[in-house]
C-alpha cells in the first residue's frame, strides 16, 4: 500500500523548487510517505540575489528529532539529506543518521558527491568509506573522458560538435554479482546538456535515485544491491536510469517553458547588468524554476519520454 517512509532533512524555500521542494513532491507522487524536517526556511533560493528567512539551530533540530524519537516516529527506511546550515546542525544530523543506521542496517541513505579523479575517487569511496553505491550525476564529457569510453557508449558522432554538449553520468555498485573480479560494476550514460542554469536539478535527481532504488524487487537481492537476471543492470543502474530519464524530461519541459517566455524574462546572465538591475536576475530565475507540478505525469511514468538507460561499462577497471 505504501512504498515506505523517507526522512528528508533539507532546506525549504517558500517560492520555487530547490531542496525539499524539489524532492518531496516527486517522492510522494511515487508513493512514499515523506517525513520533512526543514533545515532552513527561506523566501527563495540564493540565486535570486535577495533571499531571507531563518536557519534552524542545532538545538531546534535536536528537539524535533528527540520528540519524534520519543514518539516512535523516527523509523524511516530511507534518509535523504541536503543543505545543512553550519557545523552544529551538521553534528545533530550526523548523530541522527548514525542512530538510524544502528537501528536499521538496511537504511538507504543518499547524500551528494562531487569528484575530479574518477577511478581514485570511486576506489576511495568503495574501499575506505565502505559506500557500496556511488553515483556521479554529471561530469562534462570532455575529450579525455569521451575517448576512454567504449564506442557503443559514446554519443552518436553527428551530435558531437562541441566537447561541452554532453554530460556523463556514472553509477558504481561494489555489491553486485556483475562486478566479476573488479572493484565494482560501473554503468554509464551520456546526456545532452540543456543550456542555462537551473536550480534544484541535483535535488530532484537525488530524490528520484532514492525513490527508484528498490533492492527488494530483485530475486537475487542482497542488502545493498543486486543484478536483474537476464539483464546487465544492477539495482543501482536501474534506479539511476529512471532518475536520469525523468530529470532530463522535467528539465526539457522547463527549458521549453523558459524559452517561450517574453524576452525580458529570459535575459542571459550578465553579472554587471544583474547587479545594476536585480529584477533582471529575479525574472530569469523565476522563469527557470523546475516545472515539477506541470511535469508530474513524467514523474509518475505516465508520460511518453525519451529513455536514458545506463549501460554496463564492462572494462572500466581493466581497460
Amino acid at each position: 500500500m505504501s512504498k515506505g517512509r523517507i526522512l528528508s532533512i533539507q532546506s525549504h524555500v517558500a517560492f520555487g523548487y530547490v531542496g525539499g521542494k524539489a524532492a518531496i513532491f516527486p517522492l510522494q507522487c511515487l508513493g512514499y510517505d515523506v517525513d520533512v524536517v526543514n533545515t532552513v526556511n527561506f523566501s527563495n533560493h540564493s540565486g535570486y540575489g535577495r533571499f531571507g528567512g531563518s536557519r534552524a539551530s542545532a538545538a531546534e533540530l535536536s528537539q524535533i528529532f528527540g520528540i519524534m524519537e520519543q514518539n516512535v516516529l523516527l523509523h524511516p527506511e530511507r534518509l535523504l539529506t541536503g543543505y545543512i546550515p553550519g557545523g552544529e546542525a551538521l553534528s545533530a544530523i550526523t548523530e541522527i543518521a548514525r542512530k538510524l543506521r544502528n537501528g536499521n542496517p538496511q537504511l538507504v541513505y543518499l547524500l551528494d558527491l562531487d569528484v575530479s579523479s574518477l577511478q581514485r575517487a570511486l576506489k576511495t569511496l568503495h574501499e575506505e568509506y565502505h559506500v557500496p553505491n556511488v553515483v556521479i550525476s554529471s561530469i562534462p564529457l570532455r575529450k579525455w573522458l569521451l575517448e576512454s569510453l567504449p564506442p557503443h557508449l559514446q554519443p552518436p558522432t553527428g551530435y558531437r560538435d562541441s566537447d561541452t554538449d554532453f554530460l556523463l553520468c556514472i553509477a558504481s555498485s561494489s555489491d553486485s554479482p556483475l562486478k566479476g573480479d573488479s572493484l565494482s560494476a560501473v554503468h554509464t550514460r551520456y546526456i545532452p546538456c540543456i543550456p542555462g542554469y537551473f536550480s534544484g536539478v541535483g535535488d530532484l535527481f537525488s530524490a528520484l535515485v532514492l525513490a527508484h532504488y528498490e533492492p527488494s524487487k530483485s530475486p537475487t537481492a542482497s542488502v545493498n544491491g543486486s543484478i536483474h537476471p537476464g539483464t546487465e543492470e544492477t539495482t543501482l543502474s536501474r534506479a539511476v536510469s529512471q532518475a536520469l530519464t525523468k530529470t532530463h524530461a522535467i528539465l526539457s519541459l522547463t527549458h521549453r517553458y523558459a524559452a517561450a517566455l517574453p524576452e525580458e524574462d529570459r535575459q542571459p546572465t550578465d553579472e554587471e547588468l544583474d547587479v545594476k538591475e536585480p529584477e533582471r536576475l529575479v525574472r530569469r530565475m523565476k522563469g527557470r524554476e523546475l516545472k515539477l507540478v506541470q511535469g508530474q505525469d513524467i514523474i509518475r511514468n505516465e508520460a511518453a519520454v525519451d529513455h536514458k538507460n545506463m549501460d554496463w561499462w564492462v572494462k572500466f577497471w581493466k581497460p
Copy 2:
C-alpha cells in the same frame, strides 16, 4: 499548463498530515504551484501528546514576505491560511492578505469557520462581512436539523438509526443567479460519519474546496461565483461536492487502514490510560494519519469513488 499559484500559510509538521502537509500535496496533484510559508515547524501534531519545534516570529514571517515582495514573487491567485501562532504573526499575515487583495481583487481567499446558529451566521457573514461564499463543512445532523431538511435531501431512512450518524455540509453563495430574491443560494449534502478522530481532515477539505473552486470555467462567470447552465449548481457547490467526495474517500481509506492495524495500535480513546502510557496515544494517532499519498489517485480523479453531490436547498431562506 499550470492551474495557477496558491500561497499557503500554514503549520508544518515533520511527521504526519495536518496543516500544510494535508493541503500542499493535494494542491500540487491537482496542478497548482504552491508557495509554502511555514508558521510553525513542529515534530508532529499536538494530538500525540508530546510535540516540539519552533514557531515563526512575526518578524521572520514579515522578512520572508518582504523579500518575496521585493523579488516580485508574491502574486498568487489564491491564498490559503491555517493555524497562525499568536497575535503578532496574525497581524503580519492579515497585512499580507490585505496587500494581496489590493493587488488582485479577484484573489480567492480561504480560511476556516465554525457556527452554531445557521441562518443568523450566514446572514452575518454575507451581509456584514461581505463574504460571498461560505462553507460549513460539518454540522452534526441532529433531529432539529434533519427535520428542517426537505425529504429528498435527507439520508435514506434505513440508515438513520442514531442522530449522530451523519454530518451535514452546507455551502452558501450570495453571488449567484440561483439565489433568486433570497440572500444566497444554499446547497447541502449529508455525509455518513466515520468513527474515530482523524487530524488534518479540515485542512485537506479546505485545500480541496480551494483547488476545485473555478469561476473561470463557467460561461456565466462573475467575480465570485456563477451557476452552471442547465444545472442547479453554483461554482461553490461544485467545488464543495468535489472536496466532500474526495475527503470522504480519503477518510474511508484511512479508516480501513486503521481498522486493519494490530490491536495495540488502535486502542480506543481513554484519557486516563493515555496519560499513564503516552505510547498508547501515539500509536493510535500514528495509525490515523491521513492516507494522502496512498490515496493520491482519489485526489487526481483517477479512482472510482462514491460521489457526494451537493443539492440545492431551494427554500432555505423561506421555508
